[in-house]
Every structure is written in structure tokens, then in C-alpha cells.
Symmetry: C2
Subunit: 218 residues, 2 copies
DNA sequence: TAGATTGTTAATCGATTAACAATC
DNA sequence: TAGATTGTTAATCGATTAACAATC
């Protein structure tokens, strides 16, 4: 009621809250009852200050004497992040990367539902991949509209990324996970997360080379 | 000689330079001769100021009248980023994600060489995937040492990530691309790039849900 | 109580953006 | 020349870290 979603948490904090959730769920399943911010920090690879700062977005139950109750804190973080099972997800592109992402998604994200894959290759259309139907990308707009899809994952060729984005946005998608190396143009109300694997590789290579150079000089 | 690698460029700038390289190469192959910082900025999805700031790390050839010569700038960025073909790359884990990454790597990174894949599953050991041999992970340390591998890609189960990292670092790896959701502990001289696909998904889901909530209230 | 930790505010740090003299 | 852009420095912005009163 009181502008619950007005103070939209920034992407970095959301990312860390996801890490905390994973750590807390694991600890909870291992039977750990309580922890301090410094414990969560070391397991998440951040500073204790950062943990406490991030947890200001979450209704916490910490006390100076006992720290946080693991189970309750995990639940609070889950509530804060939202379950998002309300909306379904579509995947664009069923090439090697798309198929791997689909498998990964189905294996690790039981709380979200991948509802359809869209492909241009007619050999794949009509089949199923990991129990998800593959449909002709020509039917994308209609599907997104009728199923009220809000989340799309892009794993298609670079040159198709922007046209596909335009269609998705026009059809009502508000959140896009982009695995292509293209920087997408999208309206401000649409959230775009770039996961540029090619860039990741290039960056790692850069620092490996830089390190070698330094060693040679030392 | 004069501390060429002393001012190690920070990861964000390196990332953007990779984007500039891609854009410039594409423009060059399309026959574009010259551009201004504002053109490169709009194609890379950043501000013109940012472009010029980033290009301070690169020996540039820009002039107020004509902007930059595309081909020369592309070459300068390539030189700055380094080719890194000196070192070979190993992949740990040949599951769905690992295989997809291998395919992606072989298809898009001809300038780097993937030299071996390591797996624990005996059914895969001894085979080839995309012309790359799959070896028993027990032989990892010896291989990394003898081939002087400096770059490793992690695509194995979460619980194996930290032990594998320890072995890689001990054997001389200096740069790790981590596709597991685990935050790795590694010495400061080792560069670790986290590409957490699970987190990407969760973040996209968060903003989709947040957006829906806002709309409901508006 | 004494001591350590939380929740939160203040200070610092780093990165992006703006400004502007030099210049073609 | 006049005008626009570069290279670079200064200002702003945002995020992380430090500090500290409240507290159990």
C-alpha cells in the first residue's frame, strides 16, 4: 500500500540478495540455526558492512547477541526478492546456447516456468525440448500477448536481437535477459540484463595476458 | 619498458573496450571510414564522455574535424586489449552448459585456443567434443603445469568449484571464468570473473515482478 | 554488567558525467 | 575563420566502507 515498490532495489543489491538467499538456504538445510553478518559476508564474498547495508531492504530479525536466525532471514530474503512464479518465461533461440540454457533453467529454476521456445529453424518447430514446446518465431507476438509473458531470454543470432526485442516489448515483455553481444535499445521501463559470455571470455583473456606481461617484467 | 602494464585497466573499462572492438570491427567490414565519439557511444550504449574517457587507455588517432579513423582505432583497441593467443584455455565440466560453452567458444573465439576439457564422468573421458579432447579431471594438475595453462573456465557442479580452483591456482592458472554460482576464494593475483547465469535469471525475474506490482498500483 | 553486534548514518572511495581549453 | 570535436581535467553521482549509538 505504502509505495511498497517505490524504492526499487538497485541491480547490484538484488544480485547480492540472490547470493545471500542461496547461502542461507544451504545453511538452513544443513541445520545451521543462527549466524552473524560477518559469517554471511565471508560466505558471500562481501564485507560485513555490505551485508548489513543490503539487509536494510529486508525486514530482518537480527539481534546484537545472537545475530540472525538463518531460517527466518532466508524466508525474509525470499519474500523480498519475490517468487515471480506468476509470470512465465519464453526463450528465443534453440541453438547450442539456447538448449543449454533451457536445460540449466529446467534443472535449477523449479520456481519459474519456461513456457515456450521460439525458433526460426523449421526442423525444430513442433518438437519438444526438455518438455517445452518449440514454436515458430513468427507466432511470437501472438503468444506473448495471449499468455501475458513478461520475461524473455535472448539466445539467438546477434542480428536478430534488436528486431526480436522490439517485438517483445511491443507485445508487453518488461524484463529481458540478453545473451547476445548486442547492446539492446529498449524503453526505460523495460529491464535489460546483459550476460555477454563473449565479453566474459575476452576479459578473462585480457587479465591473463596482463598478468603474464607483469610477471615477465618482474 | 616504462611500466606498460602498471596502470592495469579496470574491469568495466576492459568490458567496454571489448564492445568498442566488436562495433569497430563490424563498421570496418561494412566499409565505414570514420566516426565520432558520439557515434561509437550510441552503438555501444554508453555516453560520448565515457567513450572518450575509455579511449584514453588507447593510443588514439582522433581529430576534432574528422573524428576517428575506424580501421586504425579498431587496430589500436585490439592491440590494447591484447590477443592473448599465447596462452591456451581449459574447460572444466562437460555437462550441458560446458558443452554449449565449448561450442560457443569454438564458433566465436578463433583467436583463442581451447586445448582440453576435463570431466569426472568416465563415459566422456577419452572422447572428443568439437575437436577438443576430454580428459580425466585427475590429470588436471599435471596438464596445466606442463602446458602452462593460464586460463580456466569453470562449468562444473557447485561443490567441485572451490577444490578445482585451489588445484588450478596451485598449478599456475591466473585467470578464471566462473560459471558456477559459488563465490570462489582465490589469491589476489588471480583474476576471477563470475558469470552467474542463475543470478541473471533471478534478477530478471525480480524486476519483472517489481514492474508488475508497480503497474497494479498505478 | 561488560562486550560484541545490529541498524543506520556519515565518510570515503571510485566511476561516470560535465566542462572546457586546444585544435583541426 | 567559425564551428564542432577531441583529450583531459574538474564536478557530480552513486556505491562501498567505516563509524557509532542503541541494544541484547
Amino acid at each position: 500500500m505504502v509505495k511498497m515498490s517505490k524504492h526499487l532495489i538497485n541491480p547490484r543489491t538484488v544480485g547480492r540478495l540472490c547470493i545471500y538467499r542461496r547461502v542461507l538456504n544451504q545453511l538452513s538445510s544443513q541445520g545451521t540455526k543462527r549466524l552473524f553478518s560477518r559469517d554471511l559476508a565471508s560466505m558471500a564474498g562481501v564485507s560485513p558492512s555490505q551485508v548489513r547495508q543490503d539487509l536494510m531492504n529486508v525486514p530482518t530479525n537480527g539481534t546484537p547477541q545472537n545475530g540472525y536466525a538463518v531460517k527466518e532471514l532466508a524466508e525474509a530474503v525470499v519474500t523480498c526478492l519475490g517468487t515471480a512464479q506468476s509470470s512465465s518465461v519464453v526463450l528465443l533461440g534453440a541453438g547450442h546456447l539456447g538448449q543449454a540454457l533451457l536445460h540449466y533453467f529446467q534443472a535449477t529454476q523449479p520456481r519459474m516456468a519456461m513456457s515456450a521456445v521460439f525458433e526460426i529453424n523449421p526442423n525444430m518447430v513442433g518438437k519438444h525440448l526438455h518438455d517445452v514446446p518449440v514454436w515458430d518465431i513468427a507466432t511470437l507476438d501472438q503468444y506473448v500477448r495471449s499468455a501475458q509473458v513478461r520475461i524473455a531470454i535472448l539466445a539467438l543470432p546477434a542480428e536478430e536481437a534488436q528486431p526480436a526485442t522490439d517485438r517483445l516489448v511491443a507485445a508487453g515483455v518488461t524484463s529481458i535477459l540478453n545473451f547476445t553481444p548486442v547492446r539492446l535499445n529498449a524503453p526505460a521501463h523495460v529491464f535489460v540484463e546483459n550476460n555477454d559470455i563473449q565479453m566474459s571470455l575476452e576479459r578473462v583473456a585480457f587479465y591473463a595476458a596482463a598478468h603474464t606481461k607483469e610477471k615477465v617484467q618482474a
